[in-house]
Amino acid sequence: MSLFGRLMRDRAAAIGTLIIGVLVLVAIFAPWLAPYPEDVAAFHLTDRLQPPSAEHWFGTDRMGSDVFSRILFGARITITIAVIAVGVSVAIGVPIGLVAGYYGRFTGGVLMRTSDVFLAVPQIVLAIAIAQTLGPSVENVILALSLTYWPFWARLVYAETRALKGQTFVEAAQALGASDLRVMVLHILPNTLSAIIVRTSIGMGATILTAAALGFLGLGAPPPAPEWGRTISEAREFLPEAWWYAAAPGLAIFLVVMGFNLLGDGLRDVLDPKLRKGR
């Protein structure tokens, strides 16, 4: 059975996939799906803080803009941040883990101690410090998240590489005269892929959560970008009366993070039989 087929048999993973699928579609088609696409930037001050209705599914915000439309556009920012930040983290972390695990001893020690330094500081604190220093913007959030997130992949790949290094197929490749680079990229890396994929899916959820926290603290995309975290921050002041204002972006973050976590769990079950949960 195909990988996708196996994934779909797991109910949790199927739900996760569905949520992520919807998120991606929403992000791509936001301008067509949003009932008031102009409300990303436009204000209608006379319609401030209207409760949810047929016209405004999630109500309106403090400037009279349609919350639902803004949430849909916010998905774009969220996806962009998550994909790029995680992508960069993987691009940094995987080679470092691979090299450190393969060469061990001195090189490995230096690289892994460096990643330990990053891991020693809570990710969110480090990300806040970096984003605050660089100033609020999407690019800086991505940078801050990438710089703080790579050690997770480095450690993972490091451990896998160490385990694989002593395996017969690696020794065979080496005995045949394959270069270190060839062994690492063509023989070891493919065998660590499933672990990387699982970690990446779960990492996406965590990254989105951290990005939202940065947005909440005013370090994310500057206004008027409809960033979810900042929308919640703006909405605090109108709680509990205008509950929809904070609830809508909160729900969006909740669903997306849950989606990635469910997908990650599902992928682990499918890709990594060793870790398959007992049932």
């Binding site: 001050l45 703006e234 709680l239």
Partner: protein, 518 residues
């Protein structure tokens, strides 16, 4: 809880019988931090409570419209040339450590203000030389001004007197005791410092021996706590954790508080002009056409009627409309077509490239964020990009005082420190106050001439005319974006009585307030 324990412990230490009446306590939630207790280095409304409650000035502002009453000084005389002001001091004023106040303390305080040149010192600097304050005798002090001043009398309450003996003991490298006064009090005020933490706020205990005496009822202890989150302040008041909040909440919040039966909202006419300060010294805002475009790109009506829900009135200049010396102007209107015309005129002269403008907003003050968003929206329609960055008030206010770090625009309030047009137009647009109070880097010789003249003459009609003319020029120069003049909506617990509101200090002079009888 911890504070109750402390109060209890101190009551025990003082040997007070345990059976005494419960201590009355007032807790105020403030929307920005008390980063220093020094009365001479800050001069804003956000941190006015430390100055009013720990220190005394020669005179004091009370009531609305604000009125001066004798305080540390009982009376004063002015020499015929208008230069020498002689104050008779009370002889029964004791500082918190028991030292009696003398004229020497007043001299030290004034010299300290002039030397530090921040806070109210910046207002005295242009009129007083160091050494021009003399102790005539133990209880008489004289100030010899460089030139006659129409506003010196209204600034007298800001001569807050510090305990010079105590400060001299604690001076480090001739710092005028700055390091010491950051987290200590050397005053004679109505409350004595109990506890201070820049992250939390301060607690003061009633100074029972204060020279002004006390009414029948009073608060034994006051606490001013920093609570940046508006919602936490509102809910805290409704829950009874706090007894009072800052009086300039957004109408959405006031509406919420009104619906709570344990909360009262005191209403007073005030003078607090909301405006967007613009950096007139930095391109492209140094160009009149560009500033005119800015002035026509802000949706005044939407802001006042929708966001402020009509609780404030349009104020077309920097001087509050309910004061004198206000030019008769209609006020700029939100008109993007007109804005575009001005912008085109600008572009014809300076080219099409317009850099991204930045607006600084005050963290915790949603009104500033909403004004910035509205401005950003208006400018986006003109094809101008705007970046908004938020920072806490102590940070942004120090950035504003330096033309290098002042953002292009900052929406904020100009409150009352003394009821004279100079408080608004003089300080905001007069060259003599740049850059500490005139944060706009605005310099116009015609305006300066009138403002200076108005400071010298005591002829009221003449002053009225001068301020009107200066106001007209500043208006024609579109030096700022002036939005509204506000009312004060003081939110207090129902149990609070006797709040004595004055536009100067906004009712935070706690010696007049007391808890209602059970």
């Amino acid at each position: 809880m911890r504070y109750t324990a402390i109060a209890f412990a101190s009551a025990l230490a003082l040997g007070v019988p345990a059976a005494v009446e419960a201590q009355s306590r007032y807790v105020h939630a403030n929307n920005s931090a008390y980063d220093t207790l020094d009365p001479h280095t800050v001069f804003d409304v956000a941190r006015v409570a430390t100055r009013l409650n720990f220190y005394d000035g020669l005179y004091r502002w009370v009531d609305n419209p604000p009125e001066l009453i004798p305080w540390l000084a009982t009376e004063h005389t002015v020499s015929e040339d208008g230069l020498t002001w002689t104050f008779t001091l009370r002889d029964d004023v004791a500082f918190h450590d028991g030292t009696m106040m003398t004229a020497e303390d007043v001299v030290y305080s004034m010299e300290r203000m002039l030397a530090l040149a921040s806070g109210a010192g910046a207002l005295f600097q242009p009129m007083l030389e160091p050494g021009a304050t003399q102790a005539v005798d133990e209880h008489t002090v004289s100030f010899t001004l460089k030139e006659p001043s129409a506003i010196f009398a209204s600034l007298v309450p800001d001569i807050l007197v510090v305990n010079s003996a105590l400060l001299k003991e604690n001076e480090v490298d001739d710092d005028w005791g700055q390091a010491y006064l950051t987290d200590n009090v050397a005053g004679s005020g109505s409350y004595i410092l109990q506890r201070y933490d820049p992250a939390i706020g301060f607690i003061g205990e009633r100074n029972a021996d204060h020279f002004a005496g006390w009414g029948e009822r009073y608060y034994d202890e006051i606490e001013f706590r920093t609570v940046l989150e508006t919602n936490t302040r509102i809910q805290g008041l409704m829950r009874g954790d706090y007894q009072g909040l800052d009086g300039y909440l957004a109408p959405d919040q006031v509406k919420r508080l009104r619906s709570d039966e344990d909360v009262q909202i005191l209403e007073e006419e005030s003078m607090r002009v909301y405006h967007i300060a613009m950096h007139n010294g930095r391109p492209p805002l140094d160009d009149l056409n560009f500033r005119m475009a800015m002035n026509h790109a802000f949706d005044y009506e939407g802001y006042i009627n929708a966001i402020m829900q009509g609780t404030v009135v349009r104020n077309p200049t920097i001087v509050p409309g309910n004061l004198w010396g206000v030019p008769d102007v209609a006020g700029y209107e939100f008109d993007l077509e007109k804005a575009q015309e001005y912008l085109d005129a600008y572009k014809a002269e300076h080219g099409d490239d317009i850099r991204t403008l930045n607006i600084g907003t005050l963290a915790g003050f949603a009104e500033t964020e909403q004004a910035a968003a509205l401005m950003q929206n208006g400018l986006a329609q003109l094809g101008i990009d705007v970046e908004i960055a938020s920072a806490p008030w102590p940070v942004i206010s120090s950035n504003m005082r330096n033309p290098e770090t002042m953002p292009d625009m900052v929406p904020y309030w100009k409150s009352t420190y003394y009821a004279d047009p100079n408080n608004w137009i003089g300080e905001q647009y007069g060259s003599r106050y740049a850059p500490t109070r005139n944060v706009s880097d605005y310099h116009n010789a015609e305006v300066d001439k009138r403002l200076e003249e108005a400071l010298l003459t005591t002829d009221q009609e003449e002053r009225d005319r001068l301020y009107k003319e200066a106001g007209q020029i500043v208006y024609d120069d579109a030096a700022g974006i002036w939005i509204y003049n506000t009312k004060w909506y003081g939110p207090y617990a129902d149990s609070v009585e006797g709040i004595r509101f004055s536009p100067v200090g906004n009712g935070q002079d706690m010696r007049w307030a007391y808890p209602a009888e059970e």
